[in-house]
Amino acid sequence: MFQLLQIELYKIFRRPRTYISFAAITALIGIIQLGLLRDGTAYVEFMMTNVMQTFSFDGKILNGYLVCYVLLQLLLVHVPLLIALVAADMVSGEANMGTLRLLLTKPFSRTEFLLAKFMASAIYTFLLLVWIAFLALFVSMFMFGTDDMVIQKTNYIVQLPVQDVFWRYTGAFCFAFLAMLTVSALGFFLSLFAENSIGPIVTTMSVIIFFTILSTMSIPLFQKIQPFLFTTHMVNWKEFFDPKVNADNAIIIGSIQKPGRIITSSLVLVAHVVGFVVASIVLFRKKDILS
């Protein structure tokens, strides 16, 4: 199994396509960071016009922590496509190349084969998020410095003390990994049914777009199914940046206002991952390889 996993990772990282995701992330984040470095103050003033009229802030509002938050809001919508590029190719790509039939004549079970492939795509997802974290958080901290993090929510603003931010990002990135792993598992599952990767990639993205629309529309019919859609839960990484406040409306350091929401969402996402992987194994074990 470990041998198979090593081989799958070797194959993933020998393919030029794999590096498209890393290059795209680097280019996107780099351009946004350069833009904010040049005109970031004006951008922040524009975004927080109403708040600025009521409050005055000491220190740097435009700091590395805020830049990372802005980047994550922008990127986590698009990263699923980059995840799907690899995950949805895991089995369909082998069928397309014709290597699937050769692979499955080797002495390991189909379950081992699929688990090794899924674990490899999970590691790829993890590394992509580590890369995003490095660029969006650490490089932004280096470029913009650190200070209290001020973020504007729908009806209020939150000012997180500088010493209370880093752990929240750690939690948010762990949660984002779970969300992206769900996308990866979906793409992986769909890749069983195709003999080239275009179909599963497009289908994965279509499912995400369709579910996201259902997740965000406040229509009673949709609201009934929203708790069961993984897209409803994928955005809950933001809960890490919503702290509890005490009676004086001051932030309680190290707190999260609704930890139950994060736990519930995590469980729903884990259930989706397990469901997609188990369904993949059950179907693939019975599948006739005709490619």
Binding site: R15, G98, T99, R101, L102, L103, L104, T105, K106, P107
Partner: protein, 308 residues
């Protein structure tokens, strides 16, 4: 080595393989013949667990295939249809990667030796996208052999090869069998190639076995078919039916008379036809595998199965 019993594969309305039974003995070069769509690839895929049979049983190395899949596959090397490999990797990397998947200890020497055997040693570092179809075919064979399997299954191994490449594969199959004692199952549409390498043959059509036996038996000179065309075939048939040649007569094919006899008797037949006053237009002995194959696949006449 392989014992297949009553194997059937049914797809909704189409029966790809029907009640197929055959036996491959240790050391055989077993030729697997059939027209396109006859069920050769489906059968080979069932032997390699790529397709699950609807019914029937497969035993390989004395073990049930479904129950001992991993143990059996460890001792099999295969090329299934096209020898597709990872095009973005080099020949060396491909052989190394599939060798590791086969569960063997991989050494630089082993990989290089294998590439040497198939004549790709000087291209070992080149990525496969630069390879011709023939080179890919040879690389596929290197991958099939690298873990030193007891049983080698080659599905159309000469596809895309030039005459020299075909001869190389033929010699390789012969040396695998004669020098290394391997058992080889080989399917091909190049009947003359199969004829030169196979010790035993299975011919299937529409998923059913037509004939199984040793090449020697199937191409026995005593079984030579004579295709006879005369000025009046109906009258000739009457005359022959009442002559000493009556026992040699076979069901007619393509409007021509057919006789089965030892090839040494052909001069006597000539004399007999003259004596019977039959005006011969053509008399053609049919003795190659291709003739035999066409004979039994283009008629509905089932030829009796020869002894194993």
């Amino acid at each position: 080595m392989i014992k297949v019993s009553n194997l059937t594969k049914q797809y909704k309305r189409n029966t790809a393989v029907s009640d197929l039974s055959f036996t491959v003995n240790q050391g055989d070069v077993y030729g697997f013949l059939g027209q396109n769509g006859a069920g050769k690839s489906t059968t080979i895929r069932m032997l390699l667990t790529l397709i699950t049979p609807t019914s029937g049983n497969i035993e390989i190395f004395g073990m049930n295939l479904q129950e001992n899949r991993t143990d059996i596959l460890r001792q099999i090397g295969a090329v299934v249809e096209k020898p597709d490999v990872y095009k973005y990797l080099s020949a060396y990397e491909n052989v190394s990667l599939f060798a590791r998947m086969s569960g063997i200890k991989v050494s630089d020497k082993l990989i290089k030796n294998q590439l040497e055997v198939v004549g790709l040693a000087d291209r070992s570092k080149d990525i496969v996208t630069t390879f011709s179809q023939g080179m890919k075919q040879r690389l596929g064979i290197a991958i099939a052999l690298v873990h030193n399997p007891k049983l080698i299954i080659l599905d159309e191994p000469t596809n895309g090869l030039d005459p020299q490449g075909i001869a190389d594969v033929r010699n390789l199959i012969l040396s695998l069998s004669n020098e290394m004692g391997k058992t080889v199952v080989v399917s091909s549409h190049l009947l003359s190639e199969i004829e030169q390498v196979a010790s035993r043959l299975l011919i299937i059509d529409k998923g059913k076995k037509l004939v199984e036996g040793s090449t020697q038996e199937l191409l026995d000179p005593a079984q030579t078919m004579i295709e006879l065309d005369t000025a009046d075939n109906i009258a000739a048939l009457d005359k022959l039916a009442q002559s000493e040649w009556a026992t040699a007569l076979q069901p007619e094919r393509n409007g021509k008379l057919l006789l089965k006899m030892h090839k040494n008797n052909i001069p006597e037949l000539h004399k007999g036809l003259v004596a019977l006053d039959i005006a011969v237009i053509s008399l053609q002995p049919r003795h190659s595998l291709e003739d035999y194959f066409l004979q039994i696949t283009t008629t509905n006449q089932h030829v009796p199965t020869f002894a194993n």
